[in-house]
């Protein structure tokens, strides 16, 4: 069996995979990282969004071996030293989750945006989650949360 080697949530990780495995199944089944959710298996809903080398991808249609040698970030990788990431805190503050199933993917898309564009416009925020479906919230509180997260990160950056 081939080996997939990647820097997963900051840690060098090697795992045996089948040639045809998809990244979401490796994360969930072989590595027990169940934070990444499967909503459709066809790349149509964004629930399975993770970052590969900083880019948001739908892991349900991403061949696992394509991530070999890459940096992969999942929802589990956002916390540092037991402290929630500013985006996670913002989602909590803005009540931006109801059933929570789309939430990890939504947060990862926001994380991809803010990592590259720390001061996004509302339009840019909406575009960043335009590939993530939500059936519960109507998206308003999610957009608000990402705006709040941008401000929090700017403050954190200013403090450090």
């Amino acid at each position: 069996m081939p080996t997939l080697t990647m820097v997963l949530n900051g840690h060098q990780t090697s795992v045996e995979v089948e040639a045809g495995d998809l990244l979401v199944d490796v994360l969930r089944d072989r590595l027990q990282l169940i934070g990444t959710k499967i909503g459709c298996g066809e790349g149509e809903c964004g629930a399975c969004t993770v970052l590969v080398d900083g880019l948001a991808v739908t892991s349900c249609i991403y061949p696992a071996l394509k991530a070999d040698g890459c940096h992969v970030t999942t929802i589990e990788g956002l916390k540092t030293d037991g402290k929630l990431h500013a985006i996670q805190e913002a989602f909590i503050q803005c009540t931006a989750a109801q059933c929570g199933y789309c939430t990890p993917g939504m947060i990862m898309s926001a994380y991809a945006l803010l990592s590259e564009n720390p001061d996004p416009t509302v339009e840019e925020i909406k575009t960043s989650v335009s590939g993530n479906l939500c059936r519960c919230t109507g998206y308003y509180q999610i957009v608000e949360a990402i705006q709040l997260a941008a401000r929090k990160l700017a403050d954190e950056g200013a403090d450090s």
Partner: protein, 740 residues
């Protein structure tokens, strides 16, 4: 004394785990020795099964068992009428019917083996239009019945002919709503296993764990206390998890193999395997006098019940009680029919028969306003319910009838002015380009809270207190099997508990939904939990406080106290079934109202509609958690926007054309109204906990009709079918009939 918990937007009790991806949904569970199961679905919308050959599947390496009807002790189930078979024996009636289940060591093997279960069919005629299948002489979906009409509910109030003879204007319309898919993000999944006490246990996402237990026990011929269900987290429901989906299948797998059996549906299987919102064909005729008073209503509603009954009888009975809208109409003749076809089973979906009706009655109200030359807000205010108004079912509507307040608030927010008792709509600023037209549309919706028509509604809660040395409450545990589907019930109940016990919110814990540990709260449906379970928790807390006081007084040294209570809807109001001839009854316990106003921009060349602003005013009775109320409003509008403009689950001759998210379009963030203005209203329900009522469904009822009315205001043409997609609007604009 602590500051009030009720009325504050406290942090949801479940959100911290959700933002970390730590919340486990049924598909996230693994057990030692776990097997995987896959369904063999019916290959035909309607057929006789002539043979089932499982030998090839059984021979596949890794297959442990292939289950058929022979393995089901009592092969019947259904949430209301037991007309469905767990595994079909000799007939299939829709593509969602299941013929076999393969249980294997891996999911891949289970699916490969499922593909080689050989089933032979004798196809039967496919019925796909309820207006046809209700005619005498039509082939039957269920041969034990005399016709495909599952049920007919009439309502007769006053004297219809006398009413119409008084009318100065009469308006008619024919309104069509489609099949709608719940589209919750979490596909169905379940894990069945035998627990340490030998109970057949199912981990599943369900709206009513106790009813599932009842149905599983019936099918497996087990006593109910030998069956258990645990609900760890639910990724959205909206009515789609009210009926059992795969619970009996995984229970059956565990029952036979004595090992844990897991099943996860693909999105395509989810679309195929669970029911849809009923399409309604609605014929309406209204009469009003010159001053805008409604005097007569005639309505006929035909609902596509699909292949099996599910809750169709209740949905259509609900629908007829809402056919007149929240308006006083003294003379009415309403007929509702639920009719079998080989289309998808139709089931509960947010609104439960009250979602389709406003498409009819609110478009009718705008037609009347136009015919009378009256402002649409003014016409509605003239006829809207007040406390004590008589409905077409002959009952007085009470318990905080906040019907007019949301309309007033929404209208004022949207720019209406009230002058000397008359309401005047604002001028709509023209769009920036000549091919774009803007319009404003109003709609009012209303819904019942709690079960209806004599169906017993009860919720039970247990509250356990841990006491400090000084008798103060250190912490409270609320045990109640109320399914948190995302609506926020676990947080609302925790807030009510904290408020009633007089302790900080952080000291309240909510139990998991586990039928072995938490009492029955009824379903997460009918917008009922804040009201029913909120009352149960309130009463149980009071009982616990009494127990605490007794404990302290008796100086036993015990550090615990427990309270328990059952809240029964009939103590607030006893509902009764519809009279079979006249429909007169006491239909509902309580009511909830919302108004929405849409400002749309229509591209007159393409028919595209954009929603610039949506104003909402929803009466929550008491907003226990305002941020969560807003979330329900926004989410309800999301579903309403989809209903109005983009969503249609398409079948042709019983075959599914919209297989998944690539073909069924729910609104993305870019499709939502550019601006959402929410003006909450609190007209208390005196029988609700802290005056609260339920809002989960009401928030989606006015959306689509407000959009349709806004489109009419923009282009001067009526669109009477949903979804009002760009081609539909274009046809209305250019008066091009749809080809047959």
């Amino acid at each position: 004394m602590n500051a009030s918990v009720v009325g504050r937007s406290v942090q949801r009790v479940d959100i911290r785990t959700k933002v970390q991806g730590q919340r486990k949904y049924p598909q996230d569970f693994h057990m030692e020795g776990m097997l995987h199961a896959a369904v063999v679905w019916s290959a035909h919308p309607h057929a006789r099964i002539t043979s089932i050959d499982t030998s090839r599947a059984e021979a596949c390496a890794g297959v442990v068992k292939v289950l058929t009807h022979l393995d089901v002790p009592v092969n019947e189930y259904g949430i209301n009428i037991l007309d469905q078979q767990v595994l079909c024996e000799d007939r299939v009636r829709w593509l969602g019917d299941r013929v076999a289940v393969v249980v294997a060591e891996t999911e891949a093997v289970a699916r490969e083996a499922a593909a080689v279960v050989s089933v032979e069919y004798d196809p039967l005629p496919i019925l796909d239009d309820p207006r046809e299948s209700m005619k005498p002489g039509s082939p039957l979906v269920h041969e034990n019945r005399e016709s495909n009409v599952l049920v007919h509910y009439p309502i007769r109030a006053g004297d219809l002919d006398a009413g119409f003879s008084k009318a100065d204007v009469i308006v008619e319309g024919y309104y069509l709503t489609p099949h709608v898919e719940h589209a919750y993000l979490q596909p169905e999944a379940g894990l069945g296993y035998i627990d340490d006490e030998g109970r057949v246990t199912v981990i599943c996402a369900t709206q009513w764990a106790y009813d599932d237990v009842h149905q599983i026990a019936h099918a497996l011929d087990l006593p109910e206390d030998r069956v258990r269900e645990i609900v760890p987290a639910i990724g959205g429901a909206f009515g789609g998890r009210e009926d059992v989906s795969l619970q009996i299948l995984v229970a059956l797998g565990a029952f036979h193999t004595r090992r844990p059996v897991k099943m996860v549906w693909t999105r395509e299987e989810s679309f195929r395997g669970h029911g849809k919102r009923h399409p309604f064909f609605m014929r309406y005729k209204h009469g009003a006098t010159r001053d805008g008073t409604l005097v007569a209503l005639e309505a006929e509603i035909v609902a596509d019940a699909g292949a099996y009954a599910s809750t169709s009888t209740v949905v259509i009975s609900n629908a007829v009680t809402f056919a007149a809208g929240p308006y006083v109409v003294p003379n009415a003749r309403i007929d509702g029919y639920a009719v079998y076809t080989n289309n998808a089973v139709t089931m509960a979906m947010r609104g439960f028969g009250a979602t389709q009706m406003p498409v009819g009655y609110e478009c009718q109200m705008d037609k009347l306003a136009e015919a009378l030359g009256m402002d649409p807000v003014e016409l509605r205010l003239k006829n809207l319910y007040e406390e004590g108004s008589i409905a077409v079912t002959g009952n007085a509507v009470t318990f905080g009838i906040g019907a007019k307040e949301p309309l007033r608030e929404a209208a004022l927010a949207a720019g209406w002015r009230e002058e000397a008792g008359h309401w005047k709509a604002p001028e709509v600023e023209p769009a920036l380009q000549p091919h774009l037209r803007r319009g404003l549309g109003v709609a009012c919706g209303y819904k019942n809270v709690g079960y209806s028509m004599g169906f017993e509604d009860r919720s039970e809660a247990i509250v356990e207190l841990r006491l400090r040395e000084d008798g103060a409450i250190a912490s409270a545990l609320v045990r109640i099997a109320a399914s948190e589907v995302g609506q926020g019930v676990s947080t609302v109940l925790a807030q009510i508990a904290a408020e009633t016990l007089g302790i900080p919110f952080e000291r309240v814990r909510m139990s998991l939904v586990d039928t072995a540990r938490a009492p029955d709260a009824g379903s997460s449906s009918a917008s009922r939990h804040t009201y029913m379970s909120g009352n149960a928790v309130f009463m149980a807390c009071q009982d616990a406080l009494q127990a605490r006081d007794d404990t302290l007084r008796e100086e036993t040294g015990r550090m615990h106290a427990q309270g328990q209570a059952v809240f029964r809807g009939r103590t607030a109001r006893a509902t009764t079934p519809l009279d079979p001839e006249t429909g007169q009854c006491e239909p509902h316990i309580a009511y909830t109202f919302a108004t929405q106003i849409a400002l749309v921009e229509v591209d007159t060349e393409t028919g595209e509609v954009e929603i610039l602003t949506m104003w909402d005013s929803t009466n929550s009775g008491r907003a226990i958690n305002p941020a969560m109320v807003f979330g329900q409003v926004a989410g309800g509008i999301h579903m309403g926007v989809g209903y109005a403009l983009t969503e249609r689950f398409i079948q042709e001759e019983g075959r599914i054309k919209t297989r998944g998210f690539g073909e069924y379009y729910i609104p993305t963030v870019l499709d939502m109204p550019r601006e959402l203005v929410h003006v909450g209203v609190e007209v208390p329900n005196p029988t609700g906990p802290y005056g609260a009522t339920g809002i989960g469904e009401t928030t989606t009822l006015p959306t689509a009709p407000a959009i349709l009315n806004a489109i009419h205001n923009a282009i001067g043409k009526w669109v009477y079918r949903l979804p009002a997609d760009s081609e539909t609007v274009w046809r209305a604009l250019h008066e091009r009939r749809r080809p047959a």
